[in-house]
Subunit: 349 residues, 3 copies
């Protein structure tokens, strides 16, 4: 099953993880070499020198160019060959595929599709990552499954009752029905739990002593960003100052058909200077996501075993079903020719 | 090469290895979750929840049911869904495949075929495992080969002369011709060695000082149980009280095309309380079976390399040839429609 | 991509690595068992007993024969079965494939093609390995790539400037143009560097203090032997006594489509008794070849990803291009019927 939407932005890594040294990344089954030039520009080329197919990620950066480490061919960030050692004439056709790259919200975004369709406006809105009133703990978790299974997982928090009993799950999550709606291509799933027992994680982080009113509002910003707006306040108080308000942001990077990286941020708007809390959150979040790993790998194994079999949708899956429908629509649109192919000039890159 | 006989019982594990906690087993390439209910009933379902395909083996047992660990769907031992968290109505079609399971001879047997053909009478007769006058050392050994290669191995003990020189093999084994016969679908291979040197293992376990009269009578109870009746007495005495009499029982569980588990028992009718002897036998048997592992993996590698090539049969292979013929007949019968499909009602399960 | 030239000699190992004990070797994707008989004759058979397909490499040598370790079948070096335990009559057709083997230049050579085409004259001339005026450090390095990528690598030393900066590379290598020529089927690439900085390795081994005149003359003896005649003398002196003269001989053994063993010798005609120098050379050479491993594995990965894509040839690749042409011609000739098939009698083996 290859279900990649190519005309889209994918976060390759956090901005602070990309230094001068080229590094190999696999996105949508393609091999890329990411690097940062001397002036600090983030760039990406195919991880394959057109000369003898050596990986560019084994090379180095010189000025604004990347140099193949095998025979020294040099390319600029647009992929144009600017030097061939021992050879004066560079044939005009000598190029390497360059990927459009943008840094935004502290992430390095790569456009994997048709360069003529590039549109920075398609990068999802992750304002909490830039807002100084919010603080984020960040990380990356890898799952051995197709990326859509992870979208399912994040949209349907029913599973927290069973998989994450020790951290974020409570009985009431599974027992409380959700509502879901689609606005444009954004699918939102909402679950409101009034007068409910706080989870262990909420008790520890929020310091709640009694019951709380708790909410989970989750939306898929397609193709692959899922944002969870989750929090709680002391039951009946509606008092956000005594509550907890968080955004768990997951930007999914499909690596190949059966591997996906979840680049995640846990953002909060309180206790901004509490480093102990940071450490506590990081530990809990990593523990929680790790609990999902074997379930998702097992789903993948079972899907591969019987590719023709259809999953069963329960009532709680309404959001998942709508999200899958959006993804299917995007897949169809992704394969259609770009409107600009016939009339508009190629956008400057 | 897929050569699985599905309408048959396979031992999944020893009864004492199955506790409440669900465990994953692969049999004939199928993924199963085995578990024991609160009242002690052994049961098996497909290791794939129909909801989102999570492995049921990651779930838990509640009462007489198994609960999916991902979103909490609950199924009884017949595979009928009895609970969906957060949902009142359970659609009638909501089922998971359940496998008929029987415990007999201290083993957990799973029927992998058509439930309408289930017949407990097809479980092989392994009376030595229940008889209090016999004592067994048991274990499981995994081989990286198709299950039929292990049937060959166990039926033709000629190989013990070469592979197991240090334990059970002697020169005379390879040099003594065998007789083989087929009675119904049972193929039996017999080798009688008069006035022969005991093997190292026989010397140690049987305490023989001089030559012995030794026998090996091996039969395949198809599809995949091989029983070796082996022993010896001081040469010319015919005195079983001064001899050694054993049954080496191998119940083969094909895992996939190139993996087979040998669930084995070494049963004896003497020294029933000798724990040191148990330990000695266990060590020797494991050592012996381990010597076969690289041979069988090598055969498998060579078979996969040239699937069209035929093996050469020597005189000593008469039993192996007959056994292969029975297996081929069973394979044909396995694929034929059940007689009950046309006329008889499905048996109650 | 399978691009094996079968009608050729391949070095299986160094002569001193082959003892009595059979050992498994994979050459051109075929499994072989190599062994040395009691009288010291090197021999090779298919690593698959015709009886039950057990690997012959798990067997043993008895006299001039190899014995299968599973059921004891015995074959002579020509592959004829000479014993079947427990069986008097050996059917005439009972054979195992035997490979022609010759020991020459301290190497064990195996002919993988049609036995009727065997020609010892096709073994490459590696006189330095036998000449007492030369001393060799030898070894074997395995690469995860098709053998032709390693031919490319050895013929085009431009890469030493980039990959091997710390040992044998200097700026001038990449900047100095090469000449290449084909004589018969031998392709030779020559690079002359006058008044150039010595590499770190040359400084250490040759003891040069100033600039040198340096040469690299490389030829492919098809299908897969590459010889590098490399050295240097103090600039302008033409004085070989104060210089360094070496042959780096690489005999490539294609293991499978994406694995190749480089059996290498670094031969020199000076300091024949300097064991410290031996150790120094060994360390440097292994370090140098290891630097290539990830480049070649990366090329292989990229080739497999896009099998239809063509490599770009730069000016420095003229020798590589000619060598590939020779290899392609040999591939075509390899598949043509042998001339002897129609008229000449099969050569005695």
């Amino acid at each position: 099953m290859t279900n990649f939407i190519r005309n889209a932005w994918y976060a390759a890594c956090w901005s602070n993880e990309l230094e001068r040294e080229p590094q190999a990344k696999t996105i949508l089954g393609e091999y890329l070499a990411l690097f940062r030039t001397e002036t600090g520009v983030a760039a990406a080329v195919e991880d394959c020198c057109p000369h003898r197919f050596a990986p560019m990620s084994l090379g180095s950066v010189e000025g604004e160019n990347i140099v193949c480490g095998y025979h020294g061919m040099q390319f600029d960030c647009a992929g144009v060959c600017v030097d061939i050692p021992g050879q004066k004439n560079i044939p005009g056709r000598t190029k390497i595929r360059a990927y459009p790259v943008v840094e935004k919200h502290k992430l390095v975004w790569v456009w994997t599709g048709d360069p003529k369709r590039v549109d920075e406006g398609l990068i999802p809105d992750l304002r909490w990552l830039d807002n100084p009133d919010w603080r984020s703990v960040t990380g990356t978790t890898r799952y051995g499954c197709n990326w859509v299974l992870l979208v399912d997982n994040l949209l349907d928090l029913t599973h927290t009752t069973f998989v994450h009993q020790s951290t974020i799950g409570t009985e009431d999550v599974a027992n409380t029905p959700v509502t879901s709606e689609r606005t444009g291509d954004i699918v939102t799933v909402t679950r409101i739990m009034k007068d409910t027992e706080p989870s262990n994680f909420y008790k520890r982080v929020g310091g709640f002593e009694g019951k709380i009113d708790r909410w989970q509002k989750i939306w898929l910003d397609p193709p692959s960003t899922v944002i969870i707006d989750a929090g709680g306040v002391p039951a009946g108080t509606n008092d956000k100052y005594r509550g907890i308000d968080t955004r768990i942001i997951s930007i999914l990077k499909p690596v190949d058909d059966s591997t996906v990286d979840q680049i995640w941020a846990f953002a909060r708007d309180t206790c901004l200077d509490d480093a102990d809390l940071d450490a506590d959150i990081e530990k809990s979040i990593i523990h929680t996501f790790n609990e999902d790993i074997e379930f998702l790998a097992g789903q993948q194994r079972n899907m591969e075993k019987r590719p023709e079999r259809k999953m069963l949708n329960n009532t709680a899956d309404s959001g998942v079903v709508q999200a899958r429908r959006v993804i299917d629509e995007w897949l169809v649109a992704d394969m259609a020719p770009a409107r600009s192919d016939t009339s508009a000039p190629a956008p400057a890159e």
